[in-house]
C-alpha cells in the first residue's frame, strides 16, 4: 500500500517535472540554477521585472528574485556599490558613472515619457511653451490653458528619477520645476496620484499610461508607442538594466532572458517597445 503511494507520487512528480520543462521554453536556461537576484532602481521597469520574476520563480522555486524601486539614480549607485545585482535605469548611465563603477548597460526596451492629466480634464493638448509655464509655476490655473477655473497641482519626481531627468531635459528644455510641486516616488505612484486628482498634471513612462489617466498631446503629437517608434515623439529614452562588470551566472541568464522572444513579448505586453 505504502509503496504504491510512493510510486504514484514519484510518477506524479515526473509528470509535473516534464510538463513544467515543456512549458518553460525560453526559461530552460534557469534549469538547475539556484540563488537570488536582487534588482533595484528604475520604477518604469517594475511591471516587466515583476512579470519575468513571476514566470521564473513559478517554475524554479529555488531562485529568489527581489524587486525594489527607488529610481534610476538609486539603481546605478546601488549596483555600483554592490548592494544590488542589477540596477535598472530609465536613462543612460553617465560616462562618469560608467567609469567609476565599471558598469555594463543592457538596453532591452524603448519608452517615452508622456504628460498626463485626469481623464475628466478637458485639456488634452499643450504646446511646449505652455507645458514649461505650467511646470515652472507661471501658469497656475487650468483656465489659462482653456480648462476649468481650478488651480493646477503639479506632480513631480525626486532627483533620483530617470523619468524626471529625461522629461526635464527633453520636454522642459531644462526649465525650472515649481517648488510647490508635490513629490511622488515612482511611475506607478505618479499614475495613481494623477488618476485621483481632477486638477493634476504629471509625467509618466509611456508604458504606464492606461485608461485611468489621459495622455496630453505635446505640440500636437501624442505620446503613443507608434509616435515614439517612428521618432515623431521625441521625449523618449531607453530602459536599461546595468550590472557591475560583465554579468555572470544567474544574473547573465536573467538579462539574456529579457532579450529572448518571451522576454521581449513581456516588454511589449507591458506597453514598451521591444528592441528586437
Amino acid at each position: 500500500m505504502k509503496t504504491k503511494t510512493v510510486r504514484n507520487l514519484i510518477i506524479l512528480c515526473l509528470i509535473l517535472g516534464l510538463s513544467t520543462a515543456g512549458y518553460a521554453g525560453n526559461l530552460d536556461a534557469f534549469k538547475s540554477q539556484k540563488g537570488s537576484i536582487k534588482i533595484a532602481g528604475g520604477t518604469a521597469h517594475i511591471p516587466v521585472m515583476k512579470e519575468a520574476a513571476k514566470r521564473i520563480m513559478k517554475i524554479y522555486p529555488d531562485i529568489q528574485i527581489s524587486i525594489a524601486g527607488g529610481g534610476s539614480g538609486v539603481g546605478i549607485k546601488q549596483v555600483g556599490e554592490g548592494l544590488t545585482d542589477i540596477g535598472n535605469s530609465g536613462r543612460k548611465a553617465t560616462d562618469e558613472e560608467v567609469r567609476k563603477y565599471g558598469l555594463k548597460m543592457f538596453r532591452w526596451a524603448v519608452d517615452g515619457v508622456g504628460v498626463i492629466v485626469h481623464p475628466e480634464n478637458p485639456v488634452k493638448a499643450l504646446t511646449k511653451a505652455q507645458l514649461r509655464d505650467i511646470f515652472s509655476g507661471k501658469t497656475d490655473n487650468w483656465k489659462l490653458v482653456s480648462g476649468a477655473d481650478k488651480a493646477i497641482t503639479v506632480y513631480t519626481r525626486d532627483e533620483a528619477s530617470g523619468t524626471r531627468k529625461v522629461f526635464w531635459k527633453k520636454a522642459l528644455d531644462k526649465g525650472d520645476i515649481t517648488q510647490k510641486a508635490n513629490f511622488v516616488v515612482s511611475n506607478g505612484a505618479m499614475k495613481s496620484a494623477v488618476a485621483n486628482n481632477p486638477y493634476a498634471i504629471g509625467y509618466v513612462s509611456a508604458g504606464h499610461i492606461d485608461e485611468s489617466v489621459s495622455p496630453v498631446e505635446l505640440d500636437d503629437i501624442a505620446p503613443s508607442l507608434d509616435n515614439v517608434k517612428n521618432g515623431k515623439y521625441t521625449v523618449a529614452r531607453g530602459l536599461y538594466s546595468n550590472t557591475k562588470g560583465d554579468p555572470a551566472g544567474l544574473i547573465k541568464i536573467f538579462i539574456d532572458y529579457l532579450f529572448t522572444p518571451e522576454g521581449q513579448k513581456i516588454v511589449q505586453e507591458k506597453g514598451f517597445i521591444p528592441v528586437k
Partner: protein, 281 residues
C-alpha cells in the same frame, strides 16, 4: 563556585545594559560620522537655515524643519483640546458603562497601525479636504495634521486620565461634600491638581508628532517649500529621510538626510530632558 556564578550573572546583566546604552550613543555617532562632510567648517548650521535647491548646490533642510514644525504643531493644537475633553469625559463626566467603553476604545486605538491611518487618510480624508479647500491636491498640511491629531490623541488621553485618576480621593470627596457638580470638581480640583501630568502628556505628544513619518509622508504631498497656509503641501524631516534615503551615498543630497536625523535625535533628547525636569519640579 556559587559566588562566581552570582558575579557572572551580575556582569552579564550589566553588560547588556551597557550594550543598550551603547546602541543609543551609536545611533548618534553613526549619523555624525556619515554626515561629517556637511559639518566641516560650520556648514551644519547654515544647512539648518538654507533652502533646498540641488541645481544650485543648496542642500539646506530649513523647509523640512518648517514643514515638521507646521504639521506637528497644528496636529498637537487639534489633539490637545480633543484629548483634554475626552479624558474629562472618561474619568469624571461620563458614568458607568459608557465611560468604560470609551476608555477601552481609546486603549484599543493606541494599537492601530500608523500605516492604516495613512491608508484610510489617502482615500477618505484627502478627497474630502480637496473639495473642502476648493482645489489643490488635498495632500496638504491640514490633511496630515488632522490625521496626526487622531493618531496622537489616544496616548495623550490615557496619560491625562491616569493623572486625573491619581488626584487623591480626599480632594474629590471634599468637592463632592461641598455639593460641587462634576464640572466644578473637574475645573477647580482635578485639573489644577494634575497640571504636571497634563504637561508630561503634552510633551510626549509633541515628541510623537515630531517623530512620525508615515502620516506626513503619505498625506502631506512632500513638496519642498515652507508651507504658507493649511492647503500648502509640505515635507517633514522624517519624510525627507524616507524619500532621499534611496539616493546615492556620496552626494551631499544624501548626506542632508543625516542632518535631518541629527536634528530629530537632538529634539528627542531635548524632550526627554524636559520631561525629567517637569517630573522633578
Amino acid at each position: 563556585m556559587k559566588k562566581g556564578f552570582e558575579t557572572a550573572a551580575e556582569k552579564m546583566f550589566l553588560l547588556s545594559a551597557l550594550l543598550s546604552v551603547l546602541v543609543t550613543l551609536l545611533i548618534l555617532g553613526f549619523m555624525v560620522i556619515l554626515g561629517l562632510p556637511l559639518m566641516k567648517g560650520g556648514h551644519f548650521f547654515s544647512l539648518l537655515t538654507q533652502g533646498w535647491s540641488p541645481r544650485h548646490d543648496l542642500y539646506g533642510i530649513y523647509p523640512m524643519m518648517m514643514g515638521t514644525l507646521a504639521i506637528a504643531c497644528l496636529g498637537v493644537a487639534f489633539a490637545f483640546p480633543l484629548s483634554l475633553g475626552c479624558a474629562s469625559l472618561v474619568s469624571v463626566l461620563a458614568k458607568g458603562r459608557f465611560a468604560w467603553f470609551l476608555r477601552k476604545a481609546v486603549q484599543m486605538m493606541t494599537g492601530i497601525p500608523t500605516v492604516i491611518y495613512g491608508f484610510v487618510g489617502i482615500f477618505l480624508l484627502v478627497p474630502l479636504i480637496r473639495e473642502l479647500l476648493m482645489g489643490g491636491s488635498g495632500m496638504c498640511v491640514l490633511s496630515a495634521s488632522v490625521m496626526l491629531a487622531i493618531l496622537i490623541s489616544p496616548t495623550m488621553i490615557l496619560f491625562f486620565t491616569d493623572s486625573f485618576d491619581r488626584v487623591p480621593k480626599s480632594y474629590t470627596d471634599a468637592a463632592d461634600a461641598l455639593g460641587g457638580t462634576g464640572v466644578q470638581k473637574l475645573v477647580y480640583v482635578i485639573l489644577p491638581c494634575s497640571r504636571k501630568g497634563i504637561l508630561t502628556g503634552l510633551i510626549l505628544a509633541v515628541g510623537r508628532a515630531f517623530g512620525d513619518t508615515l502620516i506626513a509622508l503619505m498625506l502631506a504631498g512632500n513638496a519642498i517649500q515652507i508651507p504658507g497656509s493649511f492647503s500648502d503641501s509640505a515635507r517633514t524631516l522624517t519624510a525627507h529621510i524616507a524619500l532621499v534615503i534611496a539616493a546615492d551615498y556620496e552626494s551631499l543630497e544624501f548626506r542632508s538626510v543625516f542632518a535631518c536625523g541629527i536634528v530629530l535625535y537632538l529634539f528627542t533628547t531635548l524632550t526627554v530632558l524636559l520631561l525629567r525636569a517637569s517630573e522633578n519640579r
